[in-house]
Amino acid sequence: MNITALFMSEILGTFKRVDDLTLSEWELLIECLRENASLARFASFLKDEDIPNQVKPHLQSELVRARRQKQQALYECKLIDEHLRHVGVKPIFLKGAAYSVSDSAVGLGRLYGDIDVLVDKSDIEKSKQALLERGWFPQILTDYDEMYYREWAHEIPPLTHVKRGTVLDLHHNLVPIVSGQAPDVADFSKDLVETKDGLLVFSQAAQTLHSAVHLFLNEDFSHGIRDLTDLHILFTSNKDDENYWESLITLSSKSSFEKELQLAVRYCQKILNTDIQSCHVEAIYALKETNFGLLDRCFESVLRFRHPKLDSTLRSTYELAVYMRGHFLKMPFSILAKHLTIKAWRSVVESTLGKNFYDKEHEVNR
């Protein structure tokens, strides 16, 4: 089944042909896809079917937006590449930016906010300086956030371009150092691919594993379905490539992310019916013994489209569970306890005094 049919059946709860949809079903579909950052992808994969005139403008508009984002991503990535190579650093582009610049199926209609770049840890200062000189400035952070990045993170605070407003995340690893699970980046950057514009990205296998790790070693699932769809497309478009599956499996055990790969395969199959050869599925499950009981409940809830009309009553409970899980995986307990206490206190303050209480701009105004 194609992506658009999957999305429709997920949101409407039933399989329907595009030309059988009622206008109120289209309304729900558009709103829900848009809120889950998936409308452009839906429009990109939709064949020339009979679409009602009221709906067409929304699909056309999303395609225009996606085309522009792709163009802009390529432009920004080329500039960043040039700036960094100028000081002797060869950046690797990650996630959304990598999908966009490498012209692969997973880049079709993929919308995203930030450009993620990986450089060697020893090159971080040099890279930051080079980008600063070209107009990329760090955002204003609270003191606590500042410390968080400095001590524990795998990236520096986001940089925003002063004129174009694009946001850049400069990484030196793929997961937070404080988690104790940060891999040897060299394993991921083994078979780098150079795009036709000379930009470096991970191999499809390493892109896939990074996508899985990013999704399942995280606490925020607000774009869960979009990210799961990335994995679906990566798996599907490499379905018959034996080398891909071999490197994927080898890389996952070398970097100890077997479980994240299992989860990626599992929920792609459960939620998006992803077609993966059974020998590969078996090999991946054999990598490690995992108890999926509780995980299934949580992830089968939080990885679906978010929308008040679709959300189960327990969704927020599961969201809290994966939120805790994500934090727990990323931080040792003593640090986590303190971190969550600070976050909880802030949300109490925000629920009584308004949710912009901690914004720095706001403080300046007062």
Binding site: E27, P57, V64, Q71, S351, K355
Partner: protein
């Protein structure tokens, strides 16, 4: 719940404070729609805030893109939120921040910075036999080079509110929201002809930059087409996203339009000029 049909796009207002709903009833004709482009909502949040300096938030679907505003500004917030929906999501038409009015099937685009008297002029022309296509946005069909109406109330600011009401006693409007980011504002209901013809596009014949000076007479400056193109681009909500197609469209628009900057003190003189030299 209320439905709003502006011609270009439609809205379903899922919920809003009573005062806002009654303003909608005053300003927009009642319509029933089987499909709304945007579902929107104005919600009060943060329990304690309801008692102490109440605030309101604008939602599109379940998403909010703005900081909350004081409850007293709820209605203008709804209108600005509607503008945002269009600016953030519609890239199938080229949209320019400008007023558009039509007479005899010919439309004139009036791009103008805040404070130039654009909305006052729009209201004045509308009550003098011109059809309002929009006070806020020129929605241009890039193939046909026509403007699609986006019929919405005219947002009058400060002294203009009293002025228009005095000149045109038939004016239907909201109460005044004080001290918003644009000063005191009130929204004026478009004429029923403007609403009824909200699906009727119009050919573009002119791009005129109006400037109210208060001085006697009318000063007319012929503008270079290249400058007008750049200025329309600067005033566009979505030129950058659309790209080349938007540029090609603007090129044709300025080529086929009369392009002027006009400084005027008497609005009737200004309209006479438009009727004799632009239409």
């Amino acid at each position: 719940m209320r439905y709003i049909d502006t011609g270009f796009v439609s809205f379903k207002v899922r919920s809003a404070p009573k005062s806002v709903l009654s303003n909608i009833d005053v300003l927009y004709p009642e319509v029933e729609l089987d499909f709304a482009d945007f579902t929107i909502e104005l919600k009060q949040e943060a329990l304690l805030r309801r008692l102490f300096k109440p605030q309101i938030s604008f939602y599109h679907g379940n998403h909010t893109a703005f900081r909350p505003l004081p409850l007293s500004q709820a209605y203008p917030f709804l209108e600005w939120g509607m503008n945002w929906c269009v600016a953030a999501h519609m890239f199938n038409y080229l949209i320019i921040h400008a007023a558009v009015l039509e007479k005899d099937g010919k439309a004139i685009i009036f791009p103008a910075p805040p404070g130039s008297g654009k909305s006052t002029l729009t209201a004045y022309m509308m009550f003098n036999g011109w059809r309002l296509l929009s006070d806020e946005m020129a929605v241009i069909d890039m193939q046909k080079l026509e403007v699609r109406p986006s019929v919405r109330p005219i947002c009058l600011k400060n002294d203009s509110i009293g002025l228009i009401k005095k000149l045109f006693p038939q004016t239907v409007s909201t109460g005044i929201a004080r001290d918003t980011q644009k000063g005191d504002v009130a929204h004026v209901k478009p004429t029923s002809e403007s609403f009824e013809r909200r699906h009727e596009t119009a050919k573009i014949v002119g791009v005129v930059f109006p400037k109210y000076t208060g001085a006697e007479g009318v000063d007319i400056y012929q503008l270079s087409k290249a400058d007008v193109l750049m200025s329309l681009k600067e005033n566009s909500f979505n030129f950058d996203t659309i790209g080349v197609e938007a540029f090609e469209c603007l090129k044709k628009v300025v080529e086929m339009s009369a392009c002027f900057e006009v400084e005027y003190g008497d609005t009737n003189d200004f309209i006479r000029f438009l009727e004799s030299d632009v239409l």
